[in-house]
Symmetry: C2
Subunit: 356 residues, 2 copies
């Protein structure tokens, strides 16, 4: 892949991928996590643990907006920047009409591209953000997303007060928000000091996801619904860039959980790709299922977002990993589509992140 990158003209790679001529830099990342996430195995990696599920707000939606605002402000601060230095935001959330995002970022006064990719949103926002930077349309953008357990339960299933039982295949929506500042140039030494991030983490390429529908209808088993989309994106990434799974130190899906992980590995074997040795799923890593009662694993836009900004970036900064394929996965359903008996299609966007 490195050799192809020497060609400054060809950005279109294979069927669904892009190789950046001037791979954008990750200037900083922020991770604001809820209490349960802070109690989980990755707790020590997050920038902030917010103990109050309302985050000082008055509704679940307001709380999520506050998480997102804090994530955006912290990422900008860690990069040694001010909000007026950020040309565009690219972001979204799980709630209908993106209200967590709208009310979360309005005070930042930055032009925004609102996006929706369900729990694949962090991948979509980083993919678009990297194109905006590499294309010369901005020198600094923020890609961000959020989710909230209580807001998501109310939006997609039942209000918490209803006390609905959850099957073992159900996942637990992560409460939190992650933001990434993407820039065209390596950060200055000063910014590096202020930030925990090493400026040499770059977005080398992306693989844009298709909507994949295997006809599954169980909104309580989203891992199975999303696995075919993750399979499509990962398989296409490997084919487009003509590489094998071991090119990456880790191939990291968003929130397939225990059920989806097995399906993904099986599906990729059909194409001759074995990722069992280097696959990781953020939904599996973020909670301890034995003591946190989180069933199939974590989910939600923030699951992959804060695992990326908290945990994965640290692994890259320490050069424990040097190349990862980050593949957040989204289940495309709404309360209406579910109640009308529709299937739950999936989508997954791949982001190639490397450190040098």
């Amino acid at each position: 892949m490195a050799e192809q990158n020497d060609n400054k003209v060809t950005k279109i790679v294979g069927k669904q991928s892009i190789l950046f001529a001037n791979a954008p830099y990750i200037l900083s990342g922020s991770s604001i996590a809820g209490k349960k996430e802070g109690d989980g195995p990755l707790g020590s990696f997050f920038d902030q643990i917010e103990e109050d599920p309302m985050c000082g707000g008055t509704t679940w939606e307001d709380a999520e907006s506050r998480f997102m605002k804090r994530a955006a402000e912290l990422a900008i601060e860690k990069a040694g920047l001010k909000s007026e230095d950020i040309r565009f935001l690219v972001g979204g959330d799980l709630l209908g009409q993106l209200i967590a995002t709208s009310f979360g970022i309005v005070d930042l006064n930055i032009p925004i591209f609102g996006i929706y990719g369900a729990c694949s949103t962090m991948g979509e926002s980083m993919a678009l953000g990297a194109m905006i930077i590499d294309g010369g349309y901005a020198d600094k953008v923020v890609a961000l997303t959020s989710s909230h357990f209580a807001g998501a339960e109310k939006q997609f299933r039942f209000p918490l007060a209803y006390g609905n039982q959850r099957p073992l295949s159900a996942s637990w929506t992560v409460t939190g928000s992650g933001a990434v500042v993407i820039g065209s140039e390596k950060p200055a030494a000063k910014a590096k000091q202020n930030s925990a991030d090493n400026g040499s983490i770059r977005i080398k390429g992306i693989t844009v996801g298709k909507i994949v529908d295997y006809g599954l209808k169980d909104s309580m088993n989203m891992g199975a619904c999303m696995a075919p989309a993750a399979y499509n994106t990962i398989s296409q990434n490997l084919k487009d860039f003509n590489i094998l799974p071991n090119y990456y130190d880790k191939i990291i899906t968003g929130d397939l959980g225990y059920v989806g992980k097995d399906i993904l590995i099986d599906l990729l074997k059909q194409d001759g790709f074995d990722i069992s040795a280097n696959h990781m799923d953020c939904g599996i890593e973020i909670f301890n299922k034995d003591i946190q009662d989180t069933h199939a694993g974590g989910s939600g836009c923030a699951c992959s977002a804060i695992t990326l900004t908290g945990y994965i970036f640290q692994k890259l900064r320490r050069h424990e990993w040097t190349r990862v394929l980050f593949v957040p996965t989204g289940a495309l359903l709404s309360q209406v589509s579910f109640n009308e008996g529709n299937s739950v299609p999936g989508i997954a966007h791949g982001v190639v992140i490397e450190v040098s």
Copy 2:
């Protein structure tokens, strides 16, 4: 603006705008309209009028998906292309979690960036689509959106069967879908014959919108809620490009309606810009309020989308207009945010479209 375009490097213009180094071409546009829209003043301009509000489907959401699928397929066909020629889709709709889009385009098997900008979605999708083309990440993309009167009423207000009364400031959500094929090169002569479009319509630049919240809370008066966002985007477009309103033959907002139009014109006068002579609002044009009972005008993502692809493109092809600023306007609310007493912020994305 033309002079600036000779500079192939500087794409960043002013605070919120981009000037494309290689202005992308509009290869085709399609407009699928509902019956009421077909009965309106612009009826003769639309490609297809679908008399069945269900579009052969079983639910309002399914109907909207069918409108969108038809718009996508027709735009691709009019450009003389097949779906496998389209590298990416950029699109979204008004429904929670974009279900009209997800189920509408899944069969096209094209990688997609799902976006949400409320009724500004056509502007956002064309802005991102043009960046993807100008940046060299694709040679052909489709930007598209849809809305449906009955689906939107159910989503944002009350199901139709409830028979809710509508105040005079309320707008009427347009049923339909519009799609645009954007390409890096002028279409071949053959495609021109098949298509009604002249290949010399190009996207010269964009102005990305901020979320603007004046604190208005009336979801039945969305024109007033969105006017400040349209004001911000139009004023910034004129400042960023250092032009006066008469640079454009038309400055075209999406769905401000009669109430919002007056507010917009007043707000722009504060900045010394008088657009009263060349302003047009798609929501005002699309219905005849005296005989169609549509109160403040049309709204919904499809309002500006089909007015663009049906009417505005024809004006440009005939060179009756040569430069327009297309500014779809979105009201950022959900049923939840409204019921929780939140304000209704607005957003507007500007697209500079010129014919040569």
